[in-house]
Symmetry: C2
């Protein structure tokens, strides 16, 4: 998930990664803002451009017309069976989540699924409450350890639900009764590995695993929570598709989520599902060629020719290189602290690797306003208060295009402590 | 908009119109339920199959990757400029809505836009209220003249918003203060042409024009409401794309809706937008070839070769034929009443035409339960109570595939009064 807003005067690229409004690098023009505020995953463009014709989706006029894509896959009527299969396949290959025997429920990005999961969980709690007055009055608290992803709070406060409410930091939460804790791991914004912190009776957990992929962090174990959220945006960089999926253990919760998806948007865009299927299959097939007799979404058993550097190796290399360069600049200018991460054995890469989070969580050493300082350098970032913490922190996306990232380093280099 | 649920034992076809679970016709097997409950627009498949290769969308691996499709079109960052252009073009050609100077805001079907428009309108009303206690307590009533589309009530009651609540029939609404009236015209389920009925001070209107297309009703004037909703599902039959659009007059409301779209789903699926663009352009171009020098979404100025029977002529002919046949059967069996509609001059067709609504609103003459009677014939319909009225009514989709429609007539023919 990723919020999209803020100063739109900064330059940006269009859906094809082509600059449409000014130059992605600012053309070396230091008067133009660069934006590393949002989590737009533009760094992946180079990889996909290289395999453009090997991973093409074609849709004819009469295809994907019905509301129904499938009625047999656990009741997810709007879901292409090949999409569910591709999600299972990629998790099996990467080993980052348990999917066997779970419900896969597609959403319009994981943002939609966050709300849908929350409603499903909250209404289950409310349904077990037989006192009607209490039922009406009780808003389930939703908490998350700070620093928490800025959009959870914004989305919930905007929604103004009668049945749940945003209650901020999980670490200071000590009310009795049911609650929902959102666990983002690796965490957005600070890249830390997390577990639930409240651990009280009546607690329900939504685990946002948007960044639990090998390019960002070592895969140490398959995640195994009751409700887990993933998004194509951060897995492969296809943010424009707005494709996310929930992996849900409990049948009742899953059925409730599907019912809600039906009421809210009558499912998700089938074209986006088809695209996601193609992209996920391409990635998964490059690591684990199709089993004997299995057909891919093209209806044939041939594995598409793969590039010499596979997807996770490419993206891990780019992020590792960027982190190395950022740390060097930050060390040299001496103004910021960056979190340190310990290497761990990655079961997917089969070696020890360092985490390379999608965001740099930068702390201004003198305790002043970090976002403000960045603004003076014409670098648009997202300050600590949006994540529930001090303004001495600010979040910097590591996933922008090369030109923007290079500009970021150039501008940070002008700082002296 | 269209709800998708109910008895899933009935047969159905997949996204390609190909039967996946039993035969679309029931194979003449009267033990198998046929479903005319939902508004799945399968009748359009035949038209699009015929132009399959003339209206194909191809998407390469690196295309449509960013969250951003455009930042210059009135702030709709997630919207392809060619999608907005195609929406303007098709309304200009058909003459069914004023779009000049209006904001076009895409959504995941019009269902999503219904909620987003409601939230935007309700929060505007609440923002002008400076008394904080009143602000908290006041839920804006949302009303619609009965029979009203079943999903309005279901979606709002499910949402459990603090700021608005479903309050049912507009005709009996007489509270003071702000309210939102939903006007569906032509109406779902009964095909009637409607205007606001409450007309009090402080009232805001959302106009759902899903069925205001020449195949369903004569186009008498361009609709000109503050907030108007359309959906690709009912315009061209591409329900699986989940593409809808709002046409919004007021800048503040439009900006609020875009902000909400950003928070809820970070916009809409770009692949779906591209598909919708292609389909809408194809339809519009067949009536009004591209102006000199204008380029279509392929980047060329050639109009795609068109079929001998154009889209609205095809769909009008199919619906007119079905209505004629249904009326004949209903008259013969003598058990039901059907609404009568007067012909009017259609500015698009340039002649007098009869309305051919997307649904038949059938009234059981003896006053008994119409849905129950249909169930006995193994015809799944949607009964009056779902639309806020008596069970002597039931709604029958006229948009199913030919086989299902023929089965419907066969089964109705077995009734005797």
């Amino acid at each position: 998930m990723c919020p999209v807003e803020g100063n739109q005067k900064s330059n940006h690229t269009n859906g094809n990664g082509v600059t449409t409004n000014g130059n992605c690098s600012g053309g070396g023009n230091n008067d133009v803002f660069i934006s590393v505020d949002r989590g737009d995953p533009k760094m992946y463009y180079t990889f996909w451009k290289n395999v453009d014709d090997k991973c093409t989706v074609t849709i004819k006029a009469s295809e994907l017309m019905s509301y129904f894509a499938d009625l047999d896959q656990g009741g997810v009527f709007y879901q292409l069976p090949e999409f569910s299969a591709a999600v299972h396949q990629v998790h099996r290959v990467v080993g980052n989540a348990v999917t066997e025997g779970r419900y896969i429920i597609g959403g319009t990005g994981s943002s939609q699924l966050f709300t849908v999961a929350l409603r499903a969980l909250a209404s289950t709690v409310n349904n077990t409450n037989t006192d009607n007055n209490l039922k009406k009055k009780r808003q389930i608290p939703v908490v998350c350890a700070e620093p928490f992803y800025s959009c959870y709070q914004e989305a919930l406060e905007e929604e103004k639900s009668e049945i749940y409410k945003w209650q901020g930091d999980a670490k200071t939460f000590d009310e009795e009764g049911p609650y929902v804790e959102v666990v983002t791991t690796p965490n957005n914004p600070d890249g830390s590995i997390r577990e639930p912190v409240v651990k009280k009776e009546g607690g329900l957990v939504i685990c946002d695993l948007a960044y639990y992929w090998p390019q960002y962090t070592p895969i140490t174990t398959p995640a195994d929570y009751d409700v887990m959220l993933f998004t194509l945006s951060k897995a492969t960089g296809h943010a424009g598709s707005r494709v996310g999926w929930a992996i849900v253990k409990d049948k009742e919760i899953a059925m409730r989520m599907i019912k809600l998806m039906s009421l809210i948007t009558i499912g998700t865009c089938h074209e986006g599902q088809l695209r996601a299927t193609k992209i996920l299959e391409f990635v998964a097939d490059s690591y684990a060629p199709l089993e004997n007799g299995k057909l891919n979404s093209n209806g044939n058993a041939h594995v598409v020719e793969q590039p010499s550097e596979k997807f996770f190796e490419f993206s891990h290399r780019v992020l590792a290189d960027r982190w190395k360069r950022l740390r060097a600049v930050v060390k040299r200018c001496g103004v910021f602290n960056l979190p340190e991460y310990s290497p761990e054995y990655c079961n997917f890469m089969n070696k020890n690797i360092h985490p390379n989070p999608a965001y740099a969580w930068m702390e201004l050493k003198n305790g002043e306003d970090a976002e403000k300082l960045m603004n003076e350098l014409k670098i648009q970032t997202r300050g600590g208060p949006r994540f529930g913490v001090s303004s001495k922190y600010t979040r910097v996306s590591m996933m922008e295009c090369d030109d923007t990232f290079n500009q970021l380093l150039d501008r940070l280099s002008t700082l002296e402590s």
